[in-house]
């Protein structure tokens, strides 16, 4: 028992855990820099002579640039829509008292309980009817609808935590409600906006299910969906496969290393109170 509670034991646990997590990632990056034949002979060797050509092939033949552009468009579009709507609704629900307030709050909370995947069929038929199937706009609206309940809930919490005197002081100074939101409160809820941004953007960027169902045109596909096609296409070219996976993973890894605190806060926002 003494050993199991010692500092050395805990340090050991963390080191083993770090190795198990990092080794596959390092293997991926390392293999992306090796020639396919070289890899097939000795899969575990270090890439001492980096084969950058793998990355060049991904960029040239894989439709990768198009997928990447589509992902940026869809994620960015959804994010702007989510932030604008959650900022407004969060402000109203966090700062105003009015009849129906708790009813709307309950509705927003109930939206968090609906598993989007199970509504996929009616959504498919509805989007078809609205001419939003096979369109980035349709995808953006569905993503926004999925993320907004939690986003509004998080933002209203941030608005509520600000002192009430701020509003009154601004109103006495003659500020309109819009100016109050834009100039006084918005700068103060920036941490909330950052959490909402990460909470919504990461799953959207990583998602492949909704594009799989809603997008058919090859030139409209997103990066994670494109990766599944890419994988079939290059199934025998290991080096190119690894390079494709690395390129798809890299943007988020870099962002995460810069903003790890915000990422952890944002992605656990649904589970931790306050």
């Amino acid at each position: 028992m003494k050993l199991f509670m010692s500092k050395t034991f805990f340090r050991g646990v963390l080191i083993v855990n770090a190795i198990v997590i990092l080794l596959p990632v390092l293997f991926l990056v390392n293999s992306s820099l090796r020639e396919t034949n070289d890899f097939a002979r000795t899969p575990l060797k270090l890439a001492t002579d980096p084969a950058w050509s793998n990355f060049a092939s991904v960029w040239q033949d894989g439709n990768f640039a198009i997928y990447l552009k589509n992902s940026i468009l869809v994620t960015g579009g959804s994010l702007i829509l989510i932030l604008v709507c959650a900022l407004g609704a969060g402000f109203v629900l966090g700062r105003y008292e009015f009849r129906g307030h708790s009813l709307i709050m309950a509705f927003v909370l109930s939206g968090m309980l609906v598993p989007a995947k199970l509504a996929i069929l009616p959504l498919f038929i509805q989007l078809k009817w609205m001419h939003l199937l096979n369109s980035h706009l349709g995808l953006i609206l569905v993503y926004a609808a999925g993320a907004l309940p939690a986003a509004i809930f998080i933002m209203s919490g941030f608005f509520r935590s600000l002192p009430a005197d701020l509003d009154n002081a601004a109103r006495i100074d003659g500020a309109s409600e819009f100016q109050l939101l834009r100039r006084v409160l918005m700068p103060l809820v920036r941490p909330g906006l950052a959490i909402v941004a990460i909470y919504s953007a990461i799953p959207i960027w990583n998602d492949f299910f909704l594009p799989l169902v809603f997008l058919q045109d090859p030139e409209k596909k997103t990066i994670m969906q494109g990766l599944t096609m890419f994988f079939g296409q290059y199934s025998s070219q290991w080096g190119v496969l690894f390079a494709g996976l690395t390129m798809a993973a890299l943007p988020l890894i870099v962002l995460y290393l810069i903003l790890s605190e915000q990422f952890i806060k944002g992605l656990t926002a649904g589970a931790v109170k306050g």
């Binding site: 963390l14 996929i120 990583n206 990766l227 589970a271």
Partner: protein, 306 residues
């Protein structure tokens, strides 16, 4: 006079700000969620709705050939829930407690532990598919190097190992999540309790079992509920690694995969069964909803006030 002016402005502003968000939720979440219920009670030809069918779709789900698929998939979901609960939760708790006890370097280990959570499951799935490749994958190579070539196998292609392997990959991807939740829970516990117990001569093991673990009950509730929901809606990883049929031979089939096949048609038969699929959707939703509600009620009862 002034006040009512503000009130009037607020009322106008209120709906201007609330309506875009609410409308998007209503049109793209509430309406489809409610219609999905109705779909289960109609006959379907492809994506075209036919006449009222009563409970026929539910009856068909529980007769051949769907019945066997349903129970096998359901069994897999239950096994996955148990597997994740045991492995992921205990390992997450261990890592959280280790991080909690660390004075220096906590930030580094925390960042590493959470890293796989940001990865897309597409990347995670393909990465592990290559790592577990029967011929070129490092796992089988290492097993061979260790002088145990009989341990090498097609981990994802063997019906005996496919599902446990998926649970392991899920563990790699997700363990940082419970770890961070438990760490937040541990950090929220007042150090006074720990100090007082130490002064009374309690061992570290006893402090963990008698003080920290009981006070972690709220975190445990959240993790259990989220794991339950995740396990019964498990789709992405089995789809990426086993396709919509749950290869090999249905060994990785889940309720969500079956729902997808019924809704959009499977690889080997293009025909879909929207009615039966929606009936299955209603059942999954009920299992998840009732399970999560009852579970959180039961689990909350054992939470203690700090």
């Amino acid at each position: 006079m002034k006040l009512s002016g503000i009130k009037r402005e607020q009322r106008k502003f209120r709906w201007l700000l609330l309506s875009p968000g609410l409308l998007i939720i209503i049109i793209f979440t509430s309406v489809p969620a409610l219609t999905t219920l109705s779909y289960a009670f109609f006959e379907w030809k492809g994506f075209v709705r036919g006449s009222w069918a009563g409970f026929t779709n539910f009856e068909r789900l529980f007769t051949f050939p769907f019945r066997d698929q349903f129970f096998m998939a359901f069994r897999h979901n239950v096994l996955v829930f148990i597997g994740i609960m045991i492995l992921q939760t205990s390992l997450g708790l261990l890592i959280a407690y280790a991080l909690f006890n660390l004075q220096r370097g906590q930030r580094f280990f925390r960042t590493v532990t959470f890293l796989p959570v940001i990865f897309s499951l597409v990347i995670v799935g393909y990465m592990w598919q290559i790592i577990l490749d029967p011929y070129y994958g490092p796992i089988n190579l290492i097993v061979g190097e260790l002088g145990q070539p009989t341990w090498a196998r097609a981990w994802l292609g063997d019906t005996a190992t496919a599902l446990p392997t998926l649970v392991f990959i899920n563990l790699w991807r997700w363990v940082g999540f419970p770890a961070i939740i438990f760490l937040a829970g541990l950090n929220a516990i007042s150090t006074d309790y720990i100090e007082a117990a130490r002064i009374d001569g309690a061992s570290e093991g006893k402090i963990f079992r008698k003080i920290l673990f009981p006070l972690l009950a709220p975190s445990m509730t959240i993790i259990t509920i989220l794991t339950f929901i995740g396990a019964f809606e498990w789709f992405d990883l089995p789809y990426i690694l086993g396709g919509s049929n749950g290869s090999p031979a249905g060994a990785t089939d889940t309720l969500a995969l079956m729902f997808y096949r019924l809704s959009f048609g499977s690889v080997d038969s293009g025909a879909n069964e929207v009615g039966v699929g929606s009936a299955l959707g209603v059942i999954i939703f009920t299992v998840v909803g009732v399970g999560a509600a009852v579970g959180s009620k039961l689990l909350r009862r054992r939470e203690v006030e700090m």
